[in-house]
């Protein structure tokens, strides 16, 4: 563990802003803000957007590096911050500012836990289609900053598609906003889009406005099992060319059944995994869909016949509500992380028709390096490929570095790209977390200089070349 030291003046100034009770500087508390074995010198918990601005302004004047944090479930994404003086804990920013069910719009502070929000929305049979990893803990601001996706993106898109506006604080301590609270708006630049997935390197998100969605009627699922990835992808292509618009569509590899049935998995979803819906040595294509009785029947019928045409070895229609298999799809990453001490997750993006080659290349790369793996691919062309070494040894590190580099080259050949959002802290500096240098790196640097000229916000989490 390394930790940064700051002068007592800093804590006293922070206490002036937020009250002494909301500044932590003892080791036990700071340990909970660890990022890749680095601890901050202090953690500060502002209670308002104004306090956030004051803290950042102060940090900027002292050149203290600051990392905004939410529920701290996604701080492992990307490189560790190169400097980490302050953790700016947003969890006291936990108010729902406005919810207008009749307009289907919502405005919340960044630290609101998604689960709490889900309850508020459920009272009006509405929801946010964001079943992201660690859904039961994650905060709204954290999931936006982390730029994570969810199975529901198949139908609803990602947060980018339904985020209406935002308030944020720049690296100079300026509180500003963009967008608005209506469902259609082109007034001014969409600064809020830049904050999505920026990992807190451009600003501290203090408030977000969303479009909400009516809860779908009855939902069901279909799981079709296949001997090969090729068969499963064939079914994916049939669905894409049909009139069906499922809510979720994932392909899971052999080995996922074991992960989903593990003790680790029950930590994220208590209900037991139904037996025999996916098998540990087969591939499976899983879809979720919604609608009235006739629609559900139509989906079941069409999906079953498409599965047959694609050479299925067996199909299960899961009736009633969102079954546990769904929760586990959502939590694929946390479950994979809990399944090995050195889990490394490669996120590959390719055109949908290139998924077969991408999966084959990844599988080859893992197996030729003797690495255990499991994968979940979204129908839209995103593959989460989990490498599951059984230890942190140097030998494994070398194998993982080789395998991930082969995967990244493989994706590049397919006109796609691959990043490594999650990897053991001690290996990160030897991995190309964000892939090879990108041609738009210079443009990204321009953005960074506008928002954070002193590079005090989550410095270098976005890493080379930023």
């Amino acid at each position: 563990m390394t930790s940064s030291a700051i002068s007592p003046n800093v804590t006293s100034r922070l206490s002036e802003i937020v009250g002494a009770a909301n500044v932590a500087s003892d080791f036990a508390q700071l340990a909970t803000y660890e990022i890749d074995r680095k601890l901050p010198a202090a953690a500060v918990r502002p209670g308002s957007g104004e306090e956030v601005a004051e803290i950042v302004e102060f940090a900027a004047s002292e050149k203290l590096a600051l990392v905004p944090t939410g529920a701290r479930t996604k701080l492992g994404i990307g490189y560790a911050p190169s400097r980490y003086d302050l953790a700016l804990d947003t969890t006291r920013l936990n108010k729902v500012i406005a919810y207008d069910p009749g307009d289907l719009t919502l405005s919340v502070e960044a630290g609101v836990p998604l689960a709490k929000l889900a309850q508020v929305l459920a009272e009006h049979r509405q929801f946010l289609p964001l079943p992201v990893p660690f859904v039961n803990r994650t905060t709204v601001g954290g999931l936006i900053a982390a730029g994570v996706d969810s199975p529901l993106r198949q139908f609803y898109g990602t947060a980018r598609d339904f985020l209406l506006g935002m308030e944020y604080v720049t690296g100079e301590g300026v509180a500003a906003k963009s967008g608005g609270r209506v469902v259609k708006n082109v007034t001014g630049y969409d600064i809020h889009k830049l904050m999505i997935g920026a990992l807190g390197t451009l600003g501290v998100i203090t408030r977000v406005n969303f479009k909400t969605f009516p809860m779908p009627l009855a939902t069901r699922g279909c799981i079709a099992r296949f001997a090969t990835a090729e068969n499963a992808l064939d079914m994916r292509h049939r669905i894409a060319q049909s009139a069906l618009t499922p809510l979720t569509m994932e392909i899971v590899s052999p080995g996922v059944a074991e992960l989903f049935g593990s003790d680790a998995a029950t930590r994220y979803e208590r209900a037991p995994m139904p037996a025999n819906v996916i098998s540990n040595n087969e591939w499976a294509l899983t879809t979720g869909y919604a609608g009235n009785e006739q629609v559900l029947d139509r989906y079941a019928k069409d999906l079953q016949s498409m599965a047959k045409e694609s050479g299925t070895t067996g199909v299960t229609i899961l009736a009633e509500k969102l079954p546990p298999a769904w929760a586990r799809k959502r939590e694929f990453i946390p479950i994979a992380l809990a399944s090995s001490p050195a889990t490394t997750i490669v996120k590959m993006s390719v055109l949908p028709m290139r998924m077969k080659e991408a999966l084959a290349a990844a599988q080859r790369a893992a197996e030729s390096n003797n690495l255990r793996w499991a994968a979940m691919a979204r129908g839209l062309g995103i593959i989460y490929f989990a490498i599951l070494p059984s230890d942190h040894t140097e030998e494994y590190r070398q194998q993982v570095a080789n395998a991930t580099s082969e995967m990244q080259q493989g994706c590049a050949k397919l006109a796609g790209h691959a990043t490594i959002p999650w990897a053991p802290a001690q290996w990160k500096n030897t991995l190309q977390i964000w892939g090879p240098a990108r041609p738009d790196a210079a443009q990204m640097q321009k953005i960074k200089s506008v928002f954070d000229p002193q590079n005090i916000l989550s410095p270098d989490r976005f890493a080379s070349p930023l």
């Binding site: 730029g147 007034t187 009516p214």
Partner: protein, 477 residues
């Protein structure tokens, strides 16, 4: 204009691709808005290399440069407010690649919106953003304005369908942002550039998603005797969590203008109609159409007609999409506002718009994207009369003020351009605007590209420019 610059442009592009005589420039003083500004010359690039070279010349001669698609924009975005070079993309109109299996297309910016959808219709696909001007407007214009359309309600606006751009920065750098595979790593530059109204870069190539056409569609026309019943119906449809593919409202006055022009069979004696569409798998469409019709009847719809076939459906849509043209036949000039309000505020807002019309003595027609609360009050006036023009601006400002009081916004799809820059401080603080200005400066450091747009000038804001205005004419489509 520097005659050496003209010579350089001509030797670069050929003299048939450079216009500079006053009579040639007149057409380019206007777009679809009521603003006017004359460029010093108009050029027609054919390739990205042409665009790069034009940008270099603009830098060399320190001349303002503005991009333009079809010039259908409704906020003066494509006007050369400070003169200079107007680069018109109409000759960069090739569809470069269509990838049916992956549902992608790559186009040059001058491709007309409807042409792309037509090119992929056989494969059961379309480009979902469908501005009412889609037979004329270009995809480059759509990307710059982040345009919407009647079917935006269910399918999203342009930004939800763009995957990657090639563009030339005003500094002369050629950049490529985004990627045809999803989730390009790093900052979402694409999200910033789409909707930046031609102030950050000239766009030279665009990759978009193509969307599958629905299996079944039902188009309904619900006819009402009061405006309140019509707007309450929209509120109710929204609140019940039904998302039609489209939900457009036309008030009685507009309807009569449209009917005289299009002969779509719209009733002439009603207060307003809703043009509603539901689509999806056949089993869902039937039920949703019935639900929507029931809600209309619960709010006293006099009649709910369902289009029986594609011909009837097309006729109803023709009425909607030609409405601005129809109004253009009645009044020398009209001014279209583009305010947005939360949908529950529709009844109060339409009442208020009527009051404002009465107060200022203008006929105001309403034809708009009701389902997402995006108003388009059309204020009719005679531009030759300066007092009337002042009155129109005052009336429009009052409408916008009301939208903002309702928690809304000043533009839902037409952009800020040179028309609403002075209204920006009603929504944004100086700090908000400064961040945006700094972002512009990062890519457009000298402000050569599309100057004096979106952001109010820091000094002397609030002043209204009054100039002689064009006759409205009926914009095509």
């Amino acid at each position: 204009m520097d005659s050496q610059l003209l010579r350089d442009l001509k030797s670069l592009l050929g003299s048939e691709a450079v216009l500079h005589r006053p009579e040639e420039l007149m057409l380019y003083e206007y777009d679809g808005s009521v603003e006017v500004a004359r460029p010093n010359c108009v050029v027609f690039p054919r390739t990205t290399a042409d665009v790069l070279a034009i940008v270099k010349l603009a830098n060399q001669y320190q001349t303002p440069l503005v991009g333009r698609g079809a010039g259908t924009g409704l906020s003066g975005g494509a006007l050369a407010r400070k003169g200079g070079i107007l680069a018109v993309f109409s000759r960069m109109n090739r569809i470069l690649e269509i990838d049916i299996e992956n549902q992608r297309a790559t186009v040059q910016p001058g491709v007309v919106n409807a042409d792309l959808s037509a090119a992929v219709a056989n494969a059961g696909l379309h480009f979902a953003p469908d501005p009412s001007s889609q037979k004329a407007c270009t995809i480059g214009g759509n990307v710059s304005e982040n345009s919407g359309g009647p079917h935006t309600l269910a399918y999203g606006v342009t930004t939800n369908h763009v995957l990657s751009l090639e563009a030339v920065l005003p500094t002369g750098e050629l950049i490529r942002i985004g990627s045809s595979a999803l989730d390009s790593p790093g900052y979402d530059l694409l999200g910033l550039f789409v909707g930046s109204e031609g102030t950050l870069a000239l766009i030279t190539e665009i990759t978009v998603k193509l969307t599958r056409l629905p299996e079944a569609v039902k188009t309904l026309l619900a006819i009402f005797d009061t405006l309140d019943d019509t707007t309450e119906t929209v509120v109710d449809i929204t609140a019940r969590g039904i998302t039609p593919a489209a939900c457009e409202m036309l008030d009685g006055w507009t309807l009569r203008a449209v009917e005289a022009y299009v002969h779509a069979g719209f009733p002439l004696d009603c207060a307003a109609v809703l043009l509603l569409e539901v689509d999806g798998v056949a089993e869902a469409v039937q039920q949703h159409a019935e639900e929507v019709a029931d809600i209309c009847r619960a709010h006293h719809a006099r009649e709910v007609r369902v289009a029986r076939d594609a011909r009837e459906r097309d006729l109803l849509w023709k009425g909607r999409k030609n409405a601005f043209g129809a109004v253009g036949r009645l009044s020398p000039t009209y001014y279209v506002q583009d305010g947005v309000i939360p949908r529950t505020k529709l009844p109060a807002t339409l009442r208020r718009i009527n009051e404002i019309g009465v107060k200022y003595g203008f006929q105001i027609g309403n034809i708009f994207h009701a389902g997402d609360g995006n108003l388009h009050p059309l204020i009719l006036f005679d531009a030759r009369d300066e007092a009337q023009f002042r009155g129109v601006v005052a009336a429009a400002d009052e409408i916008i003020q009301f939208c903002i009081e309702m928690g809304g916004s000043i533009t839902g799809e037409h952009g800020v351009g040179m028309e609403k820059d002075r209204l920006m401080p009603l929504l944004f603080s100086e700090a908000d605007l400064d961040v945006m200005r700094n972002v512009r400066a990062a890519f457009n450091p000298q402000g050569l590209l599309n100057p004096d747009k979106i952001f109010p000038s820091k000094k002397g804001c609030g002043e209204i420019h009054v100039r002689p205005l064009p006759l409205a004419g009926a914009p095509s489509a």
